[in-house]
Assembly symmetry: C2
Homo-oligomer: 234 residues x 2
Amino acid sequence: MKKLIIASTSTVHGSSYLAYILPQLEEFFKDTKEVLFIPYARPGGISHDAYTEIARKGFTAIGKSVSGIHTFDDPAEALRNAKAVFTGGGNTFLLVTQLYKNGIMEVLRDAVLGGVLYFGTSAGANITGLTMQTTNDMPIIYPPSFKTLGLVPFNINPHYLDPSEGSKHMGETRETRIREFHRINTQPVVGLREGSWLEVTGDTITLRGDLTARIFEQDKDPYEIGTNSNLRIS
Amino acid sequence: MKKLIIASTSTVHGSSYLAYILPQLEEFFKDTKEVLFIPYARPGGISHDAYTEIARKGFTAIGKSVSGIHTFDDPAEALRNAKAVFTGGGNTFLLVTQLYKNGIMEVLRDAVLGGVLYFGTSAGANITGLTMQTTNDMPIIYPPSFKTLGLVPFNINPHYLDPSEGSKHMGETRETRIREFHRINTQPVVGLREGSWLEVTGDTITLRGDLTARIFEQDKDPYEIGTNSNLRIS
């Protein structure tokens, strides 16, 4: 049975890396000592090693050891042998390109469908959706496809941001961008605010954290769902 | 000789469509009565007709007539017959996809190199650069390539936004995104704030408007250039 934690962000303002979600991670990963880390999204362009070190430090607090997938000769085999995977945030275009380049997009999907625990933040959350097309990131590299893992029946918009009142900036709001998306795409979009995450257990998807989430469906007004409620969109 | 106005935005806060730049447009387009409009970026997903109507209204104030390129059976021929082109903002992925789909990316480039006046705002500004990879837009459609017109020897980041002090949002700042871009791409990036534009006359590129612009070059600290100064990057 698939089990995922899909988190808007790794870090909330004023707190250290992963700190806000550690109690949940401790419970989620209780049956494994080792977590395989996918550092491909390289936030700020840092190296795979440096990024893995950050993830390692974050997981030390709950007594897990972390290995970077880039240290394995055969990343597909590493995934097949893993019990738990964490994909960190950064640039979604880079993450998706690297997953395809290494031939492991499908392998990762199969692993999670087969019961490997999956935790993703930001870009690592975005790729659990049907496509990466509601990312906020810059297209710094051209991926072979925008199709992603499809482990949930919708798209994710991480770091969802409400329109800022009184702003004089004329660039599109997040809501406008998602509306443009829905003029040519049909899949629903879940806007996950920072500090929110989705807990997926088989077909049950539950919103967690303190905030509501904003749901966008084609040809409908966007609406909010409350924390601890189940998502019934498909 | 190529002549372009590359503007960060069509509209500045508190002003009507194109109003802030009309005196310059009047001078720039003084030798033509007709402007061919490319509405492909469809802001907010509006129709090509509705978007052309907005552009038409904007240009009425300086006595120009505007035709939408979508109303011509052969858009390539429309471009070859044009004296002046305006490409409006919206979604850059959609704009670039449509230009490729209609086989006119190269035709548009050749037209401008041949002396057709070009005015672009936002997404229409972004495509004058080497690639569209420093757009802020959502990848709502998969374009055949990220390569764009290459009419200037760098990339454009329209609606350039300084980090907002005191923000609690953890999503990447614009500067971080461009730094990630430069970890794997070499071309310089010009961050154009709203209300700024580049005036291109042959090989001379001059910053106009009231604000400075922020220049990002690989392996260098970003720096500001003053208004009315020439860009000497390549």
